[in-house]
């Protein structure tokens, strides 16, 4: 009885390994919605017929939570933002160092590559390289809100009941900039940061009566803007560009204090099982002809030297309508979040949500 059971188990195990060896290698991507357009996946699978691509859509917070839950396994390539890697790696050890010799780093724009490297180097090992970048700022319907120019306008009584924001850390930082503070400079000093958070919390609670609702995702926000229920909102630039195509009155406005810039990266989870395929994907999507396909889907700008020129026509005109050179020079790149900061911000956000006007 016992031996036959063992035999059966052994047989099953052999069958399983044989099965997986015979089948193609799988590349499991953990990335943002629209960061893996079908067109590109098809093209990739044609070029590398032995690799299957599986995609899971997520966001920064969920990516880290998922990888933390499994100790970094279950996915072969993840795309968190550049400021979310250092602390997550220190705390949860979920990524493995990259082998830069496998990556065509010459294709990447040098300043973004150096910025990401500086942000994600631990003990001399680099954990991420840049993929695409974009900004957060405000989006205005210029017919209704022609003068909107900064974060503080979201709380302007002139737009009573017609503004919106997402209750996440971006609005805390933006509001701080709008109030004349620089949160990135306070990152190292927790007491000063808490002091800043308290001021921002008070401001956003006071602002609550001015806003219609908090949006939670791109589709949600699109509905609010396109219906005209909201005329001014905190936004990702890519969402604004998409709406610009449907209604040219809706434009992205880089706040006068500087749009907040993020870089989404490539990082390999610790338990990744298809590193070669992951490197192939990284090099593949940064090729100029593929950059345009990717940007058409994401609305974000690739981290290659001529990223803006490689945007599809409609997106390029939206970017040019929103940014001039001085706006680009004024970008505020998100600084590395030290461990523990998100917990402080989380409490601030909950206070705002729970406050009654």
């Amino acid at each position: 009885m016992k031996t036959s059971l063992k035999l059966m188990l052994a047989g099953t195990a052999m069958g399983l390994t044989a099965g997986s060896m015979a089948s193609a290698e799988t590349l499991r991507l953990l990335t943002w919605g629209s960061y893996a357009p079908d067109e590109l996946i098809q093209k990739f699978e044609e070029e590398y017929p032995d690799i299957d691509v599986e995609v899971t859509f997520s966001n920064n917070e969920e990516m880290i939570a998922k990888l933390r839950a499994t100790g970094g396994s279950g996915y072969d390539l993840a795309q968190p933002s550049h400021d979310r890697i250092y602390a997550a790696q220190l705390e949860y050890d979920i990524y493995k160092p990259l082998d830069l010799s496998q990556i065509n780093t010459d294709a990447m724009s040098a300043n973004l590559l150096d910025g990401v490297k500086a942000n994600t180097t631990i003990d001399g090992e680099v954990y991420a390289v840049p993929h695409q970048w974009g900004t957060s700022g405000i989006m205005a319907n210029i017919k209704e809100a022609p003068d909107a120019s900064g974060w503080a306008d979201l709380c302007d009584p002139a737009y009573q009941g017609k503004t919106s924001m997402r209750l996440r850390r971006t609005i805390l930082l933006g509001t701080a900039f709008g109030m004349g503070m620089n949160p990135f400079e306070l990152y190292a000093d927790k007491d000063a940061y808490q002091d800043m958070l308290d001021k921002v919390t008070a401001k956003l609670i006071e602002c609550k009566s001015n806003i219609k609702t908090y949006w939670s995702g791109g589709d949600d926000l699109s509905g609010l803007m396109l219906s005209g229920e909201v005329v001014l909102s905190e936004t990702w630039d890519s969402t604004a560009y998409k709406l610009y195509n449907e209604n040219p009155d809706i434009v992205f406005v880089p706040p006068e204090t500087g749009a907040l810039a993020w870089i989404d990266t490539f990082a390999i989870p610790k338990g990744g099982e298809a590193d070669d395929a992951a490197y192939k994907w990284i090099n593949f999507v940064l090729r100029p002809e593929n950059v345009t396909i990717m940007s058409a889907s994401t609305g974000a700008i690739a981290a290659v030297p001529n990223g803006i020129e490689l945007l599809p026509d409609d997106k390029r005109s939206a970017v040019q309508a929103a940014f001039d050179q001085s706006d680009l020079d004024n970008l505020k790149f998100f600084a590395n979040i030290p461990p523990g900061l998100e917990d402080m911000e989380g409490l601030a956000l909950e206070r705002i949500k729970a406050a009654t006007e």
């Binding site: 806003i211 609702t213 229920e229 911000e345 989380g346 409490l347 956000l349």
Partner: protein, 288 residues
């Protein structure tokens, strides 16, 4: 020999159930309970202690949200009972035998659509540029668009709609078993409609009422999608805070603590409800 077979079949029958309970209910709960007792002292360093529970008590936002969630869930349960009872009574007692199955099916149909889609249905109806606002303007009842979404009332409507079926089903099955002769006897003895309702129908239906209330209360207090999608800028829900702790604050220890507290608190509310109405779980679940 025979008792051996009996034992074997009992074991075989019980195994899936026991596995289910142990692997999917008890183990995860024990894990959550364990995590909730971890205190974070530094990156990857934890100590054993009750700090997370103290933090919960020390921050009014948290227990206010828990009380608010419980209070709104009780309200939803009462509304679901008030709406569900007449429907269940009609299906079980008044409707003709042939149409009962059809009516029951009509109640079930909304369940074929996911929670998410039903919540979006409410959004389409209630938003400022939505169907109801538009219709009221067209009829000339209101002068300008009205926002019906993003407040507590909307959340309660959405939740009642989601859970009312779980009230109707146990009520129908209980009322179905009631002999019509009981009602006739009540009337023959001079009882008014109200007396018959109060002294005969309600006591008979009590097990159904209690189990329906427990199910709807637990579902409501633990729901996530409906309060998030329909709620406005002021409507916090406790499950949302659990999500925030786990996902946006990376604070699994506090999230686990909140999970344990939600379970304990809702269990306490159910227990208190049973005590107040003089029912016990045994008479509700295993009806004689």
């Amino acid at each position: 020999m025979r008792s051996d077979t009996g034992k074997l079949s009992l074991i075989l029958l019980m195994t899936p159930f026991a596995l289910w309970i142990v692997l999917l209910i008890i183990l995860p709960q024990a894990g959550i309970g364990y995590v909730s007792l971890q205190e974070k002292v530094g990156p990857r360093q934890y100590e054993f202690g009750f700090k997370n529970y103290m933090d919960f008590l020390g921050e009014p936002i948290y227990w206010n949200t828990l009380l608010r969630t419980a209070w709104m869930s009780i309200l939803v349960t009462i509304l679901a009972l008030l709406i569900g009872f007449p429907v269940a009574y009609y299906i079980a007692k008044i409707a003709k035998k042939q149409s009962r199955a059809g009516l029951f099916l009509l109640c079930l149909i909304p369940l074929w659509v996911s929670d998410l889609v039903r919540a979006f249905g409410w959004i389409v109806l209630l938003r400022e540029t939505g169907i109801i606002s538009g219709a009221l303007q067209w009829l000339g009842i209101i002068g300008e668009p009205v926002e019906l979404l993003y407040n507590d009332m909307t959340v309660i409507i959405g939740l009642v709609y989601t859970v009312v079926l779980f009230m109707i089903v146990p009520l129908v099955s209980t009322l179905d078993g009631m002999d019509d002769a009981l009602l006739e006897a009540g009337y023959n003895l001079g009882g008014s409609r109200f007396t018959v309702f109060r002294r005969i129908i309600v006591p008979y239906a009590m097990p159904g009422i209690v189990s329906g209330c427990i199910i709807t209360f637990m579902l409501t207090a633990g729901s996530y999608l409906t309060p998030i999608l329909l709620g406005g800028k002021n409507s916090s829900w406790f499950t949302e805070q659990i999500y925030n702790q786990f996902i946006t604050r990376y604070n699994w220890e506090a999230g686990a603590t909140f999970g344990v507290l939600l379970l304990l608190f809702t269990s306490f509310v159910v227990w208190a409800g049973l005590r107040l109405t003089g029912q016990s779980l045994a008479t509700t679940v295993a009806k004689e």
